[in-house]
């Protein structure tokens, strides 16, 4: 399997005095679900923002599909992103939110775009809500709509920032199912930030764990391999999810 996302000597943080992660290297293979784990404040979300080009690294580089990103940025988006809050545009309906990337990046006639947006909404079970505004949706529905928007241009890579945080277990399982469907049926590579062990075990082919003290990756591999790590910090993280 070739690598879709890779980092080389990547350091991220706020400034040279406030480094979150130092000199980290990892790669995500095509077709896998890769999870980034770690306690709050360890730099997971900042790492994700750096991977998608919203934050500049302090040092090193990010490669997406073998190209340096975002310096060699191609104009059309090459991946989809689902933000923690969903980040749907509040002034547009759900259908318009999903149609927006298609309107901006394709020259298809409007009826075709509407049909395509409906198809994406059907994929996430929200076809009935196309005319609703994001404020009228529940948290889980908003995440699903955001997932549909991220898939609008049919990218082969999707980044997810804590996709199940703040959702009840049933809704979280539904979102997990959707992510699995995207990965298995459409072959989409998924990079997700999470601190939910249940989602991790259900979805991830591989994962890595970050540590704020070490400012580094302290474990990497399949979820089972990482859970069996000798490192106390990793074991404490995994044991924290066990029912008492």
């Amino acid at each position: 399997m070739d690598s879709v996302v890779a980092t080389k000597h990547l350091s991220i943080g706020w400034s040279a005095d406030e480094v979150l992660l130092k000199d980290i290297e990892f790669e995500v293979k095509r077709g896998e679900i890769f999870a980034i784990l770690g306690a709050s404040g360890c730099g997971k979300s900042t790492l994700l923002r750096t991977l998608i080009g919203l934050s500049r690294p302090l040092a090193g580089e990010v490669l997406i599909e073998g190209r340096r990103y975002p310096d060699e940025r191609v104009e059309k988006p090459i991946f989809g992103v689902v933000f923690q809050s969903g980040a749907l545009f509040g002034s547009l309906t759900v259908g318009e939110n999903v149609a927006l990337p298609l309107i901006e990046w394709t020259r298809l006639p409007r009826p075709v775009i509407t049909d395509m947006a409906c198809a994406k909404l059907r994929l996430v079970g929200l076809e009935e809500s196309a005319e609703k505004l994001p404020a009228e949706l529940s948290g889980g529905m908003r995440k699903r709509a955001a997932l549909a928007r991220a898939m609008a241009l049919e990218p082969s890579l999707v980044f997810l920032d804590e996709p199940t945080t703040g959702l009840d277990p049933i809704m979280a399982a539904e979102i997990d199912e959707l992510i699995l469907k995207l990965n298995q049926a459409l072959g989409v590579t998924v990079v997700m930030v999470t601190h939910q062990i249940s989602s991790l075990r259900r979805l991830a082919h591989r994962c890595m764990m970050l540590d704020p003290e070490a400012k580094d990756i302290i474990a990497e591999g399949t979820p089972d391999d990482v859970a069996r790590s000798d490192d106390e910090r990793v074991r404490a993280f995994f044991e924290s999810d066990r029912p008492s």
Binding site: K76, P77, F83, S85, G90
Partner: protein
């Protein structure tokens, strides 16, 4: 519980050892829980010294930071403007019409009412002096020159700033804190071309139009006062106005109004983009927008008036 933990804390600070004896095991457990050190958070930073000089230094630092951020924003606007010239279709022009309606058409009643009152007030304030010197007809000069050159552009800009400037800052600020601006960016859409330019364009279209209408209703207000208080007929008022007011007076007012429109839009968008810290952060930016824009409008007005008068 608070007293107990406080006393033990004070004793420990004085290196006095204390033990809990004879209490219920559950109570002792709770006391120990309260005594566990609190984890340090990133927000906790040592507080520096306070004082007048320090306050001045901090304020200067904040102001310089804001100026730097505004400069960076204007720089990015210039760069995006060049891109937009090369690829005009990349700007979200579709939004200009609905925004113009929201910022312009919806604001017509309030702006016309205020400028009508300003015309009346300006004329009323001149009544006693003009009557004293028998110079009643000059009320037309005062009102027409005042409204076209100064008052209509300025009052219109102030109302648009309070109404639309604050709304733009709040809207973009909310989009910033809810990650909508980030979402636009990762979709490959420039927030400047998608959100800022349509707003600037809408303001540049509607503010001069509102200014012309404002000058007209202000003059009507002045004419009503001239007729009622100074016995100056409408025909005489119009004749005197045509004698004294030149097209340049209205053009200079329109030049000002375009500059004011850009100032309102740029400050509002910059403040909105800089919002952080949730709802209170958005509110602070909306307030800052109004304060900073009013300040900038006054400075601009002084500069324009000085330049235009030196051209007379």
């Amino acid at each position: 519980m608070t007293l107990l933990t406080r006393v033990r804390g004070d004793l420990a600070a004085r290196n006095v050892k204390s033990t809990l004896e004879g209490g219920d095991e559950r109570v002792i457990e709770i006391v120990r829980l309260y005594e566990e050190p609190v984890l340090p958070t990133r927000a906790e930073r040592p507080r520096g010294p306070r004082g007048f000089v320090v306050d001045i230094g901090r304020t200067t630092e904040t102001v310089l930071g804001e100026l730097k951020s505004a400069g960076t924003f204007v720089g990015s606007l210039s760069a995006e403007a060049l891109t937009s010239l090369r690829r005009p279709w990349s700007v979200n022009w579709r939004e200009v019409a609905p925004l113009s309606e929201r910022m312009g058409a919806d604001a017509v009643p309030i702006i016309l009412l205020i400028n009508f009152m300003v015309g009346i007030i300006t004329a009323l304030n001149s009544v006693s002096q003009l009557r004293m010197y028998g110079a009643n007809i000059f009320v037309a000069d005062i009102v027409s020159l005042g409204m076209t050159r100064e008052l209509a552009p300025l009052i219109t800009a102030i109302v648009v700033c309070g109404r639309s400037g604050a709304a733009i800052a709040a809207e973009l600020g909310s989009m910033r804190v809810s990650e909508e601006l980030d979402a636009l960016q990762v979709m490959g859409l420039s927030p400047v071309r998608y959100l800022v330019f349509p707003r600037l364009m809408a303001l540049v279209i509607v503010v001069p139009m509102l200014t012309i209408a404002s000058a007209a209703v202000g003059i009507v207000g002045g004419a009503l006062v001239a007729k009622a208080q100074l016995d100056v007929g409408y025909a005489s008022f119009v004749h005197e106005m045509q004698t004294i007011a030149k097209p340049w007076d209205m053009v200079s007012g329109l030049i000002k109004s375009v500059a004011y429109a850009l100032t309102i839009g740029i400050i509002a968008c910059q403040q909105g983009f800089a919002a952080s810290g949730g709802a209170s952060g958005v509110g602070r930016r909306a307030t800052s927008t109004v304060v900073a824009t009013l300040f900038a409008l006054m400075i601009l007005n002084s500069g324009f008036t000085w330049i235009f008068r030196s051209m007379d």
